[in-house]
């Protein structure tokens, strides 16, 4: 019986010929990462482990992106712990604000997430790098501490579920809509402990940004990872940015899948996840009359350049109503700078948006756009749990950048085609 890409990557990392789903393996890791919420806990565990040095100073990435630029004294202290640790251990990839970006948008840009690699991060959206053909998964702080000390981690080899997307995506429908639709179909534990493999003609057509959005939200279906086998687009991107050597891995033709889902996407509408679960998904035409107070465009899910282009395409020549807040957060400095060059920031500002320096900010209810009781927001982020963006009585509706931009103009959730000029 053949093996999936993930099985082969884990087997290689464990120095074995093959591995079976359910088997527990200890593998070397190519990169481990932490942020300003998870790294401080990991650092105290690292010290309790009695570790004196990190296993490799260029295989650890520390990105203070959640509460930065620091919103208060306590969060400044958390980053201080990270910064001092990074200096003491000569961590090569520590990113101070001004260089920092939202971690899962930043690391691919920096060539630190590459095909065939094993990457763990103390952040659940580490699964994003599956779009680049890596095995990447979220862990907790103690796991990060162990990885920093030993350069290895244990994994239970996941069974795989295959998702095949057939047809051609209509205008205004992209990766975010596909993953929301998928989670709506299978539920928030529909892929629990599983690897999600994305494939089919619609995936092959899709941009890297769209694929990164899809892999990013695999965790919202409970998955261990969500990936696509690396194709020409991925290999070209990786080759132009790689910070180290890497070797892509491909699954066998006769690989075993626990289940296969086939979706025809040619008639798919933009999708919206209603409160309070990412699986509570409806097509945008069923979402009308949801009046919103705020729209957020950004995050590790949808803060990349294509996302901003999409939003600008809808906002060009439009104005946001006086009482509505539109917040646009480019995910990295590179995205920010590119958006500036292309004139996108000007379009946002003319529409009446606040444009922020990169940060996770409002996505997790950190800062930069917290909701009051009773308020509703449409957001391109990844979670709409109770209290996620602020008060427990507030509501978050998840969508693509195009829907979030259009809704900001209309004042209620709407199809982008009805707003774009």
């Amino acid at each position: 019986m053949g093996q999936t890409m993930v099985q082969k990557i884990l087997a290689r990392g464990a120095g074995k010929k093959s591995v079976e789903p359910g088997e527990i393996v200890n593998t070397k890791i190519d990169l481990c990462l932490g942020n300003d919420i998870t790294a401080p806990v990991a650092i105290s565990e690292f010290n309790r482990m009695g570790a004196e040095t990190v296993f490799n100073t260029s295989r650890v990435a520390l990105v203070p992106d959640h509460f930065t630029p620091n919103k208060d004294i306590n969060t400044a202290k958390q980053v201080q712990i990270m910064r001092e640790f990074a200096e003491k251990h000569r961590i090569k990839y520590y990113y101070e604000i001004g260089k920092m970006g939202v971690e899962h948008a930043l690391l691919p840009e920096e060539g630190l997430a590459l095909p065939g690699e094993i990457i763990i991060g103390a952040d659940s959206h580490t699964c994003t790098y599956g779009a680049l053909g890596a095995f990447a998964t979220g862990v907790g702080s103690t796991d990060l501490a162990a990885a920093m000390a030993l350069g290895e981690a244990w994994f239970k080899v996941p069974p795989a579920i295959k998702f095949e997307y057939n047809g051609k995506l209509p205008q205004w429908v992209g990766g975010k809509d596909l993953i929301l639709y998928t989670i709506g179909e299978i539920g928030v534990d529909g892929a629990l402990y599983r690897a999600m493999e994305f494939s089919g003609p619609a995936m092959e057509e899709m941009s890297l940004e769209g694929r990164l959005s899809m892999s990013n939200m695999a965790i919202e279906a409970g998955a261990k990872c969500g990936y696509m086998e690396p194709d020409g687009k991925v290999l070209e991107y990786a080759a132009s940015r790689a910070a180290r050597e890497y070797e892509p891995v491909y699954g066998d033709r006769d690989a075993e899948y626990e289940n296969t889902f086939r979706f025809e996407v040619s008639n798919l509408e933009p999708q919206v996840a209603f409160p309070h679960k990412p699986s509570n998904v409806k097509p945008v035409s069923k979402a009308q009359e949801v009046h919103i107070h705020q729209s957020v465009i950004g995050s590790c899910t949808n803060g990349r350049i294509e996302d901003l282009r999409q939003a600008a395409g809808v906002l060009r020549g439009n104005k946001v109503p006086p009482s509505l807040r539109l917040i646009v957060i480019p995910a990295t400095q590179e995205v920010y700078s590119q958006a500036l060059k292309e004139g996108l920031l000007e379009i946002f500002m003319e529409a009446g948006a606040a444009v922020s320096t990169p940060t996770c900010g409002p996505c997790l209810g950190g800062h930069m756009g917290i909701l009051a009781p009773g308020e509703k927001a449409v957001a391109t982020t990844n979670r709409n749990f109770v209290g996620r963006m602020g008060d427990p009585q507030s509501e978050v509706y998840l969508s693509s950048p195009a829907v979030a931009a259009a809704s900001a103009v209309a004042g209620y959730i709407i199809h982008p085609g009805e707003v774009a000029k």
């Binding site: 527990i24 919420i37 998870t38 401080p40 806990v41 105290s44 565990e45 309790r48 482990m49 009695g50 570790a51 959640h66 509460f67 919103k71 208060d72 306590n74 969060t75 958390q78 991060g121 103390a122 952040d123 659940s124 580490t126 979220g138 862990v139 907790g140 702080s141 103690t142 796991d143 501490a145 162990a146 000390a149 030993l150 244990w154 239970k156 928030v188 534990d189 629990l192 402990y193 965790i219 409970g222 261990k224 679960k277 997790l364 209810g365 950190g366 979670r383 749990f385 109770v386 209290g387 996620r388 427990p392």
Partner: protein
């Protein structure tokens, strides 16, 4: 080891934002986190839970973020363990790593009601409801994870690999 306590009931898909909202993540002090444990699922939980009580929940407990602050806040609040239909995978890993006992046992979850007394034999994974006269067997943990727990969690596992003594 035998754990005893009363049951607190929660539903399916309890996420880590409900367990410990991000507005409290500007610290990782366990006692501070414990004060807000389960706040957005049951605002009274943190002030009323007694040492040794159990959380009993449906499927996919701990879904969402990787914040280890979630199991840390539960452990620091005095909770003896969690019995659920299933756990989200990062939460499962984190609970194991920090030594918070958890068991998957759909049959027990179905039988347990709010306030029921629960007795758990940790080594055997046997969940007993003394008042009702039932005993349930939780899904056994993989051998590797049992060894991790026996050796005192991931911190000690790494200490031994680094040639240090266990804490």
């Amino acid at each position: 080891m035998i754990l005893e306590g009363k049951a607190w009931i929660f539903g399916d898909d309890i996420d880590t934002d409900a367990i410990i909202p991000a507005r409290y993540l500007n610290t990782h002090d366990p006692e501070e986190l414990a004060r807000h444990c389960m706040e957005d699922a049951d605002p009274e939980f943190a002030s009323k839970v007694s040492r040794g009580d159990f959380i009993v929940a449906g499927k996919n407990f701990g879904c969402g973020s990787s914040r280890e602050h979630a199991p840390i806040s539960i452990k620091a609040a005095g909770v003896g363990g969690i019995i659920a239909v299933s756990f989200a995978r990062i939460f499962f890993r984190n609970a194991m790593n920090i030594g918070l006992p958890i068991w998957e046992c759909p049959e027990a979850v179905q039988a347990i009601q709010k306030g029921d007394s629960i007795k758990v034999d940790v080594e055997k994974g046997a969940i007993e409801l003394p008042q009702k006269g039932y005993t349930f067997q939780a899904t056994p943990l993989p051998e590797f994870i049992q060894q991790l727990i026996v050796n005192g969690g991931l911190v000690n596992y790494v200490r031994l690999k680094l040639g240090k003594e266990a804490l």
